[in-house]
């Protein structure tokens, strides 16, 4: 006889969930070690996330040299704020808005310091593949996105490339949902014109 209070699923379900959560657990273990000052653990987090962070910085800034600086600054800031990450979400969910904040703050401070013009070829030139290795015209759209006005570019990158909703973008960039929608409309219209054959 099997006790009625128990079920077959109890023993099987736990290992299944463990496998599902394993990556998050490993990431959380790295975060905990980094919080205690373990730089090697933080480097492991950096290696896992740097490509996404750099891509975001590159598209938000439109400048590869600036994107490198922003990526470094974002990770240094993440290190300083690690205690605020409580593990309720994936590390990337916590990290990416921080990256956006770093990138947009830099943009605003630069705008006040100098009349800045972004080097709009940097994103497109990033990987420099041969023309026949880019059948979908990825470089064309990268170049066109990099040439957008900064506000429209930020909203386009966050909405259409990164997949954030307008309310999330509003929260990250400090604009209203209406402004976010207007900037997206402007970005799309400009891109359609610039990508037209």
């Amino acid at each position: 006889m099997r006790p009625a209070a128990t079920s077959d699923s109890a023993g099987d379900a736990i290992p299944a969930r463990l496998i599902q959560d394993e990556r998050r657990s490993e990431e959380w273990a790295l975060v905990c070690r980094a919080r205690e000052g373990d730089l090697a653990a933080f480097e492991a987090l950096y290696r896992q996330h740097v490509r996404r962070v750099y891509a975001l910085c590159l598209r938000l800034s439109g400048n590869s040299a600036l994107a490198e600086d922003l990526t470094q600054e974002a990770f240094v800031r993440a290190w300083k704020k690690l205690a605020q990450f409580r593990g309720e979400s994936a590390f990337s969910t916590w990290l990416h808005p921080l990256v956006v904040n770093v990138a947009l703050t830099e943009r605003r401070s630069r705008r006040t310091r100098e009349a800045h013009t972004f080097l709009t070829d940097d994103v497109a030139a990033h990987e420099r593949p041969a023309a026949d290795a880019d059948p979908e015209g990825r470089l064309d759209i990268e170049r066109a996105v990099a040439s957008l006005p900064a506000g429209a570019r930020a909203v386009f990158v966050l909405h259409d490339v990164e997949g954030y909703r307008h309310d999330q973008i509003a929260g990250m960039t400090g604009v209203t949902v209406g402004t976010s929608k207007a900037q997206l409309h402007r970005a799309r219209q400009l891109l359609k014109e610039r990508l037209a054959p």
């Binding site: 006889m1 463990l18 394993e22 905990c32 490509r51």
Partner: protein, 207 residues
């Protein structure tokens, strides 16, 4: 609906952010207006193209040395107690194994003892209560430190303790039918001991 009205809503239409009625209004307009339909096709193509862009790009140089240098000259990250991922995994696995052992032993238990020893039954009940009291005290200490665990770890701890409680409940239920069974009494004590060990480990790790 005019073309101007349709075009003003085209972004929301393509992004799926319109209500059902407005969505259908636009669809009706697009079915009747070739120019607006063409706009919609172009817009959708652009959005799909943007969505296919790689979301990860490698920087041309390793940026870590610069980050490590900046970190070294800055304040260390705030120290917080570590909760190794393996700990709750081991805890959950131990609880599952414990339950499996209980099932197996209860399934294969010996026939009821012919003459239960009332003194032994009384002693067994006392031990059961003592262990429960000790576990309750340790649980208070664990709960006081819950905030140091991730939500996932908290859920796993709760799940594991629930499984152990199920095991104890199953044994007690069987003991009610066969109070004199030495095997069941031994099993009850061993599960109690494991629960105390688990709780002591949790208290130590979250201290």
């Amino acid at each position: 609906m005019t073309c101007e009205e349709a075009l003003a809503r085209l972004d929301d239409f393509v992004d799926g952010e319109l209500g059902e009625a407005e969505f259908q209004d636009i669809e009706l307009h697009l079915a009747a207006c070739a120019a607006c339909a063409e706009e919609a096709v172009e817009l959708r193509a652009l959005v799909e193209r943007a969505g296919r862009l790689p979301r990860a790009l490698a920087p041309e140089r390793d940026l870590w040395p610069g980050i490590a240098e900046q970190i070294r000259v800055s304040q260390p990250a705030a120290a917080r107690p570590m909760w190794p991922a393996w700990t709750w995994r081991a805890l959950a696995a131990a609880a599952a194994i414990m339950l499996a052992v209980v099932w197996w032993r209860v399934d294969h238990r010996v026939p009821p003892s012919p003459s239960p020893d009332s003194a032994a039954q009384f002693a067994s009940l006392e031990i059961d209560r003592d262990y429960d009291r000790a576990a309750a005290e340790l649980l208070v200490a664990v709960n006081a430190r819950r905030s140091r665990l991730t939500p996932e770890a908290q859920a796993r701890v709760d799940e594991s303790l629930r499984v152990i409680a199920q095991a104890l409940s199953a044994i007690r239920s069987e003991l009610a039918k066969d109070p004199g069974s030495p095997a069941l009494n031994h099993l009850l004590i061993s599960v109690h001991q494991r629960r105390i060990e688990v709780l002591r480990t949790l208290v130590g790790l979250t201290a």
